[in-house]
């Protein structure tokens, strides 16, 4: 997979031939210093961006030349996003935020509310359903975001520095939860630059200057023990 960005007149070759295969049920950490191309890779996998060349196959489905509409449908159906800065909509309650992907799936309001409440319960925030994001702590916000990512029951969970804005204790809290999701069978792909967080995954892929430097399986460190 290749990707370049035009910067003024010159072009910056960010991904210089990435070949990566992730199996169902894996939990992969993508590491690398800034500028290594890890976020670009995640964006391409997340269909937020497209590769210049190469192919991307998701669950047997080639993702290529997507119209905006089709990309929206695929994102909604196959992918769940977790961001460093949570990216909750600030004027919507926790429940409404979780229900949003279900709205775009075309579910009825009642069904949406029920499902969203169920997922909020899974991240043990059912009591906070009617609260606005600003009334929640960082850890709670990220849990709402995870509930939202899970709401549409995606095949693949993409996390971009999910613990980047959290303190260590809360980070481990969140990681414990993500590990639990993985145990339940969700495939998880996360970008991080923290070694301890990466070691909580089952596989670490290290990027440098747009190529894979190292790709190894690791012994997962369970986060629960730190909580």
């Amino acid at each position: 997979m290749h990707k370049s960005y035009a910067i003024g007149d010159s072009s910056l070759h960010v991904l210089k031939g990435i070949d990566l295969n992730v199996e169902e049920g894996e939990m992969v950490a993508i590491m690398g210093s800034s500028g290594s191309g890890k976020s670009t890779l995640l964006n391409i996998i997340g269909m937020l961006d497209e590769a210049d060349s190469g192919e991307y196959i998701l669950d047997g489905l080639p993702i290529k030349n997507l119209t905006e509409k089709k990309a929206a449908v695929y994102r909604n159906k196959f992918l769940g996003f977790i961001f460093q800065s949570f990216n909750l909509i600030n004027y919507k309650t926790a429940l409404e935020n979780v229900a949003l992907p279900l709205y775009y799936q075309g579910l009825k309001r009642k069904e949406r509310q029920e499902k969203a409440l169920f997922h909020l319960g899974k991240v043990s925030l059912a009591d906070w359903a009617k609260h606005l994001p600003k009334e929640l702590s960082g850890g709670q916000k990220q849990r709402v975001a995870i509930a939202r990512a899970l709401a549409a029951n995606p095949k693949l969970l993409l996390a971009d520095e999910p613990t980047g804005a959290l303190d260590t204790k809360t980070s481990y809290d969140i990681m414990a939860f993500i590990q639990q999701l993985n145990d339940e069978g969700k495939t998880i792909l996360m970008v991080t630059h923290e070694e301890d967080i990466a070691n909580m995954c089952k596989r670490i892929v290290r990027l440098r200057d747009g190529v894979i430097m190292e790709d190894k399986k690791v012994n997962q460190v369970r986060a629960e023990q730190y909580v």
Binding site: N43, G46, L48, D49, E68, K69, A72, V73, R75, N76, K77, F81, F83, Q84, S85, N87, L88, I89, Y91, K92, L100, P101, Y103, Y104, Q105, R109, R148, A152, E161, G164
Partner: protein
């Protein structure tokens, strides 16, 4: 197509950003307010002009005669020109297709009495067509007809105020009144929008007056209306030709301004209708100018809103929002703000016109107001305006790349 959830989203968004929505709506509301008030005032001015001319048909031409001021064709200056029945017939027959109504007028003044009451009144002896020229409205009985003319009947049609003066509280119809010593039967009572003076008149058949007062065929004035299908220029051409022919008929010099006088109401009507058209045009230009300023204002604010909501739109897209749903949200929000704000402006404008309307009468503005058609038109314009204002920002929003919107900054 009606999607309750979409509306819920939009109302939530408007509600969460009340100040912003209010501000963007304000320009439009103000534009419509101005437009409504200006339009109402223009309508008021038009009403005033219309009323000023409601007394007489505005396609009237009056012909009068006087003394010659110039010697012509061997005739001396100072000769009295007298209009007669035959002149009326001449005009009627010669300009058959151009004349709509035509009547003679003889002016008299009489002491009129009924039982103990008496008063002085102006009298006009006329043809039946006079009713339409003067826009006389019959309240009771009938107007003078051809039969009265043929038989020179001693009948009169009296004004509402004449009846009030002479008959006090009783009805005049069918009674006999004394006009300068002769008994006349009242066959009709009329009203006239031209004011009290017009309602203190008495009409009588022209033939009766000619027979009783001098036994001649003289008339003081000929009034006619031209075919209303003629435009102003044709009407002016007609009166010019009429003047020329009449001057020829009476051997009056062409430059003699006093012997034959033809006055065409079209001259005044044309000036006024041109002024009204001009006024309406100016107001439309100002109104639409303000409206466009309003649209640009809303559009600007919508662009700002899109910029402010870039991140939110990015999130929505990442969660699976189609470009269409993003366009709908922004577009409908824009239309909604514009339409509601505009309507508020319209209501305030109409309210202001209703409130201050009566006190503007002394400034020549009568019954200012806007028609229902204009209100409906303005509403439609507002919806279209909202769509125009929202379209570019909405398009811009739908093109937002989630990757850029979600960049951690």
């Amino acid at each position: 197509m009606f999607d309750i959830d979409l509306w819920r989203e939009i109302f939530q968004s408007i509600n969460m950003n009340r100040t912003r929505s209010l501000l963007s709506g304000f320009t439009v509301a103000f534009a419509i307010l101005l437009f409504t008030i200006l339009f109402g005032i223009a309508n008021g001015l038009q009403n005033t002009f219309a009323e000023a001319f409601v007394d007489d048909a505005n396609n009237s031409i009056f012909i009068r005669s006087g003394r010659t001021t110039k010697a012509h064709k061997g005739l001396q200056a100072g000769r009295q020109i007298q209009l007669k029945n035959e002149d009326l017939d001449y005009v009627k027959n010669d300009f058959d297709d151009k004349v709509e109504f035509i009547t003679a007028r003889i002016y008299k003044n009489f002491q009129v009495s009924y039982k103990g009451e008496q008063n002085n009144y102006n009298l006009r002896a006329v043809h039946p067509d006079h009713q339409f020229l003067e826009k006389t409205k019959i309240k009771e009985g009938r107007y003078i007809n051809q039969n009265d003319l043929n038989n020179r009947t001693k009948t009169v049609v009296i004004g509402r105020l004449v009846e009030e003066d002479l008959f006090l509280k009783t009805r005049a119809l069918g009674k006999y009144i004394n006009l300068g010593g002769i008994q006349f039967k009242v066959i009709g009572v009329f009203t006239d929008d031209g004011g009290d003076n017009e309602e203190r008149l008495i009409y009588m058949p022209v033939s009766t007056a000619q027979y009783l007062y001098g036994n001649n065929d003289y008339v003081d004035q000929i009034n006619l209306t031209y075919n209303p299908e003629m435009d102003y220029d044709q009407a002016l051409g007609f009166s010019t030709l009429l003047t020329k022919k009449l001057k020829n008929r009476f051997s009056v010099a062409r430059s003699d301004q006093r012997a034959i006088r033809v006055r065409n109401m079209a001259e005044g009507t044309k000036a006024i209708s041109q002024m009204t058209v001009g006024l309406t045009f100016i107001i439309l230009v100002i109104g639409f100018g303000t409206l466009i300023a309003g649209i640009v204002g809303v559009s600007n604010i919508m662009i700002f809103i899109v910029k402010e909501r870039t991140k939110e739109i990015g999130i929505r897209k990442a969660l699976g929002a189609s470009p269409k749903s993003i366009v709908s949200i922004i577009l409908i929000e824009s239309i909604l703000i514009t339409a509601i704000a505009g309507y508020v402006g319209l209501l305030i404008g109409v309210g202001v016109l209703e409130a201050v309307g009566p006190s503007l009468k002394e400034y020549f503005i009568k019954d200012p107001g806007v028609s229902n058609g204009l209100v409906i038109g303005a509403t439609l314009t507002l919806i279209i305006a909202g769509a125009i204002a929202g379209y570019l920002p909405a398009k811009k929003a739908s093109r937002i790349k989630p990757i850029i919107a979600l960049r951690n900054d």
